[in-house]
Amino acid sequence: MQFDYLEPRTIEETVSLLSKFDGEAKVIAGGTDLLNLIRTKIIRPKYVVDIARIPGLDHVKYDDAGTLSIGALATIRALEMSAQVKERHPVIAQAAGQLGSVAIRNVGTVGGNLCHASPAADTAPVLIALGARVKIAGPAGDRTTALENFFAGPGRTVLERGEILAEIQVPATPPDTTGIYFKHAIRGAADLAIVGVAVVANFDGGRCRNLRVALAAVAPTPMRATAAERLLEGREPDHALIEIAARAAADESRPITDIRGSADYRREMVKVFVRAAIKRVLPEENDRDNEIATAIQ
């Protein structure tokens, strides 16, 4: 591997370098994805633009409204260990703890995980399910978009020439919100997901409110399972309804066959883990089959 190494100190400088060297430059944050792509000659950038020394891009903090802002350079480990995140958005910390090894999480950033745009990116499903938005900095200033619309295909995002991801913003959740991320992988966290399932919801007298189902590794991009969500919204889920919703999620997934699993197997596992995840987030009184969810995990 060979490249020139550039080290801008501001977002503006980064944006202008990326605009100037469009197509020849790649951003490096932690480098845990990028260096493997370069080493295996999948990409051969002429310039590598290190954004790690830009100050103020690695925060994990809440504002007065309870919105969580995550700087693009915040490490996965910082999300996993943040006492505030564990208290206010525990499902984010829980998912972060399932990405790779500690040594990878110490270096890998949230921005890098999202911008690498792997269909299996472990931070994507929970952030999508929580309704996260991303702030993008570019030549024309800042813009924001829903994270759900950030991915364009395997390895591709909607970032345009000169643009970088600056921040992820996660709205506050109602106090009784519950959520879970199931990562189905052969070697647990150390391996990429065969299927990833995030479910976040709150309940009003047993009825689902704002229930979101998001999936990883079963489509060209991380995706929401909106058909499953619609079936459950406003309803009090019983065994039969959960089964129907889990099937709907499996039907709307678009998995491929690869080294980690066949398309058919993945679709089946979407059903299994969506079912388990919904059961897991249900309030106690609805929770008829929690032992099944526990058995599967």
Binding site: F3, G31, L35, D50, S101, V102, A103, V107, A189
Partner: protein, 157 residues
């Protein structure tokens, strides 16, 4: 083009001419002869190359040396005390027969050091999870986990 960079390794500033794409593992081994740090997969999967950067475990094969300027790098060579005495984790690995061929050992020990510094009294589950990025081809892990658990509760240094 090579650049002159200064890296602080085991408390000593080292000046090296390094290409910007050189991973830290290469600089440690090939430029500084600190060959305690091993290279296995060179892709972040095996943990043989684990070093500490500002006290945190990092895969040095997947970390550009140039990124490490201004940070504190600790390698297995720096664990020994000034009097040459082995670090308690190193002693525990010997006492528990946690070393066979030894290739994974420096990475295991540096990972264990970071783990114990953060969590001085880990459970077996925490140790096993903490080691999920370190592959050992020989021992079957049990002895390694025993060695690390035996260090639990001891004062850190």
């Amino acid at each position: 083009m090579k650049r002159l960079i200064t890296l602080r390794i085991n408390g000593i500033d080292e000046e090296i001419y390094a290409e910007p794409w050189w991973p830290l593992s290469r600089v440690l081994r090939d430029e500084l002869n600190l060959i305690g740090t091993k290279e296995g997969c060179e892709a972040g999967h095996c943990g043989a190359c684990t070093v500490l950067i500002d006290g945190k475990a990092v895969m040095s094969c997947l970390y550009l040396a140039i990124k490490a300027r201004g940070k504190d790098i600790a390698t297995i060579e720096g664990l020994q005390g000034n009097d040459g005495a082995l670090h308690p984790i190193q002693k525990a690995f010997i006492e528990h027969f946690a070393v066979q061929c030894g290739y994974c050992t420096p990475g295991m020990i540096m990972t264990a050091k970071a783990l114990l510094d953060e969590n001085p009294n880990p459970t077996e589950q925490e140790v096993r999870e903490g080691l999920n990025g370190n592959v050992c081809r020989c021992t079957g892990y049990t002895k390694i986990v025993d060695a690390i658990l035996s260090c639990g509760g001891k004062p850190k240094n």
